[in-house]
Amino acid sequence: MGFLAPLFLLGVGALSIPILVHLTQKERKEVIQFPSTMFLRRIPYQAVRRQQIRHWLLLLLRCLAILFVILAFTRPFFTSKKGVAATLMKMGKDQVILLDRSYSMGYGNRWERAQKAAKEAVDNLGANDRAVVVYFAGTAWPAGNLTSDKLALRKAIDSVLPTAGATRYDVAFRAVQRVFADTARPSRAVVLISDDQRTGWTGRELPALPAGTSFTAVNLSDTLTANVFVSRVDTKYREDESAKQERVTVKARLANVGLKPILKHRVVLEVGGREMQSKAVDLPANGTAEVEFTELPVPPEITAGAVRSAADSLQRDNVYHFVVARKQPLSVLVIQPVKGDSMAGLFIRRALSIGDHPSFKIKTVQPGQLSASDLKDQGMVVLNNVPMPDDELGRGLEKYVQQGGALLVALGSRSDPARWPSFAKELMPLPTGAPVEQLAEFGATFGFIDRGHPVFEVFNGPRSGDFSAARFYHYWSVTPGPNDRQLARFGDGRPALLERRVGTGRVLVWSSDLDGIWNTMPLQPVFLPFLRQAAAYAVNYKDERLTGTVGQVVTPATLFGDDVPSADSAAVRGMASEVKQYVSLAPDSQQVRFGKAGAPPTLELTQQGIYELKRASGDADKRLLAANVDLAESDLTSFDPALLEVAVAPRPVPASEKSPISAELERQDLERGQAVWWYLLILAFLLLGLENLVANRLSRSAR
């Protein structure tokens, strides 16, 4: 037997109280007049007879009552196996019912089977058991607190459907840990109701269940599955000069994950919510096919589109949303060396000519042909291996940048420091000294790339752009100013790409050329997306056509190109009232206003479909974001649930390493479960009642 508060045992000394009371009794304060104390005085007051205990039963009852009260305060509990087992039975268990709500659970009748299994788990709960339903897909969230209310649990199961999210088992089991962290019951259970999709367990280590937790997996996967889904949609824009109209071609790729080929599978193109075209495509077994729709005119305003595949057992991945918008080409003025240099600007023009969003309209001039009017309405000016004009044109260029223009400077053989006007240093970091030669060891390479910068952000993922292959044989040494940002450096630490903010415009300085003479950069596959990305950043281009994946978190301020100070910056505190707020209209038409002052507003894409985003200030500028499901979820391949059970099995903790806190928790659990103190207090109460009866009877008989 154990005691939670053994110090109270010292109170056993209080057992002497009834004995003292029994012997001395309470004396009346009132004096009794008696004719003569002649005989009373003859009987000694301190006679042994007075101190004898005559009513042993009364004394025993009083002592036992006090003893039981003392023992109740010590909070005793039984540590025998029988006692522990009885406690566990009495306490009941806490159970987490993990209900997979990823969209693959919409395949066939999986969801109905899942609900049935979940309700069976609820029905099997004992009278003292508690449970909570935890939904999970890309994230996990409980549908309430641990409860014994079976009606509430069944309601939590019946009232929901699969979401558009993808499966992630690690977040599900972390949610289990959070639930059990708040419960003290030692008996725990987890019931996983899922289709055990392999893509949901990407090899990350899963959190182990707490010790003593039983685990049951209800496997809802099917032996044979067949699914067709739209895996990709591409849009290609074309300017129809004759019709003076922009046109778009939509091409979709479909995948058939099934053992049987599908012939004449219907695919529909919707634009603006209306069915525009329908095609039939033959899909090979476990294969893909493409369908290209007839070219359409681009609507004048940004419009939502969708490609829908014919219905099958899994509906969610049968539709792919996209956004159609006019190209809005940006004018780029390339100032390049004399006409005789045929390579001058070639790579720049070719790279910027490819692609739609943004699309660039390029005009080239030589320094001698440049006029002030050339700068007007230009989205970007490129100084390709030419210095800045040192006259009014140069001042005009400076003013252009200050007023929001973009300037990309590629330093080459004609970029001698002496050729730059003195005021140019206000606009950009200038080359110094002589060009750096790196002819030995096959040239220099990049030593640092700021992949957090929007220019290089898109290259963050694996196999998304290899800069290491580029070789630099010559480059200028550029001294950055105090506020210049180095976006890339060579291996020797000299800046390769710098950014300077001038007024409301941006200047990017590339320390080597972009014509492939001083380096091999234009010859690398990464050159095209790099230059387009650098140009798009310089002009602060924001694609109105946005795509995302359900589960992704986006920052609307970034989508609108608005500045977002960090939450803890002094600027935020000073301009808290000026932080922009945004309004989003979700696919289910729910409008949400978000973006509290002082914190970057974010939007989690929880639904499949088109999100419409606007600034809360009410201006007409809007963005459409096409949120599609994570297509990894369309792969219905399942894993052996036994592997999952092993992966989340509780780790055994050696007794020597057992946390004293957990040991104490077990003692508290036993004591709380057995509640021996309650029975002791009841017994004490009954004994006091019995003592009262006995005392009254003895008193009457004494009379």
Binding site: Q25, K26, F34, P35, T37, L40, R703
Partner: protein, 298 residues
């Protein structure tokens, strides 16, 4: 309870304020009801005839003799002797105690008044002595002193501490003529002291009757709660746990009563103990029995 018995109940008598009335009522009622009394064996033996004189109680006329002689004669009984009868009434503070409606002092006064009245009815010369630790009042026996005695009994109060020895010693010299003495007390003294005191009274052949008056609480000690007990005479307080010593006390008081009865009886003193809850007829019967016995002995 019959009307006669009602008048013998001390609690009823307590409602009668006038002691003389009380005594007459009790005695006449007692005498009239004697033939219905459960106390059998009491009788007044015929002693002689005397010429009837006007004013005598015509109930004493011997009508049979008149029928034979045509002369009126009244009967004289054995008790009809002129005796000095004195009541010694203990008026010490301890007599003030009473657990019910009647205190020991009240009971003793009723006894004294009734027996004096009865005695006067027997043509005794009655007297009274009240005492505590000393003699308080003396009314010498006289045929005319009944009102005085009743008056003295009425106005007596039990206030002061008592000591039976000294006053009785003094009284031993007082009774020059052989008398009948009725000592009414609660006898809170050592038996030796009582015997010695009573012994003084027994000088000169006085006939002493001792009536030991006690309250039922003094006999049973029915108290429950521990409390300080205060002596009515000495004001001494003694802490008492009744449960602890009740049995011992009862034993002691009974031993005391038994010792007094035995030792006084050995000295020729008629001793009787009266509980104040008992009706007075028992005391009266006891007195009359004693007179009858005395008459035989003489």
């Amino acid at each position: 309870m019959s009307d006669i018995e009602a008048f013998l109940d001390p609690s009823v008598l307590a409602r009668i304020g006038n002691l003389e009335l009380l005594a007459r009522t009790v005695v006449e009622g007692f005498l009239n009801g004697m033939h219905r009394s459960p106390h059998l064996g009491t009788s007044l033996d015929f002693a002689e005839h005397r010429i009837y004189m006007p004013g005598d109680d015509i109930r004493r006329v011997d009508w049979k003799l008149y029928a034979r002689t045509d002369r009126l004669y009244r009967k004289e009984f054995e008790a009809d002797t002129n005796t000095n009868f004195t009541v010694l009434l203990d008026i010490s503070a301890s007599m003030r105690y009473g657990s019910g409606k009647v205190t020991k002092f009240d009971y003793a006064r009723y006894l004294a008044a009734c027996i004096t009245y009865l005695s006067r009815g027997q043509r005794d010369r009655v007297g009274l002595v009240t005492f505590d630790s000393d003699i308080v009042e003396i009314i010498p026996p006289s045929a005319k002193h009944l009102p005085n005695v009743l008056h003295a009994i009425t106005r007596a109060t039990a206030e002061r501490p008592g000591d039976i020895g000294p006053p009785l010693k003094k009284l031993g010299e007082h009774f020059r003529r052989r008398s009948m003495i009725l000592l009414i007390s609660d006898f809170y003294a050592e038996p030796d002291t009582v015997l010695e005191a009573v012994g003084h009274l027994r000088q000169r052949g006085n006939d002493v009757m001792a009536m030991h008056v006690l309250d039922s609480a003094e006999l049973e000690f029915p108290f429950d709660e521990a409390a300080p007990f205060e002596d009515l005479e000495t004001a001494e307080k003694v802490p008492i746990v009744p449960d602890q010593l009740r049995d011992e006390y009862r034993k002691m008081i009974r031993q005391h009563i038994a010792e007094l009865e035995g030792r006084l009886g050995a000295q020729g003193v008629d001793y009787a103990m009266f509980d104040t809850s008992q009706p007075l007829d028992y005391a009266l019967f006891h007195y009359l029995n004693r007179r009858q016995w005395l008459a035989r002995v003489r």
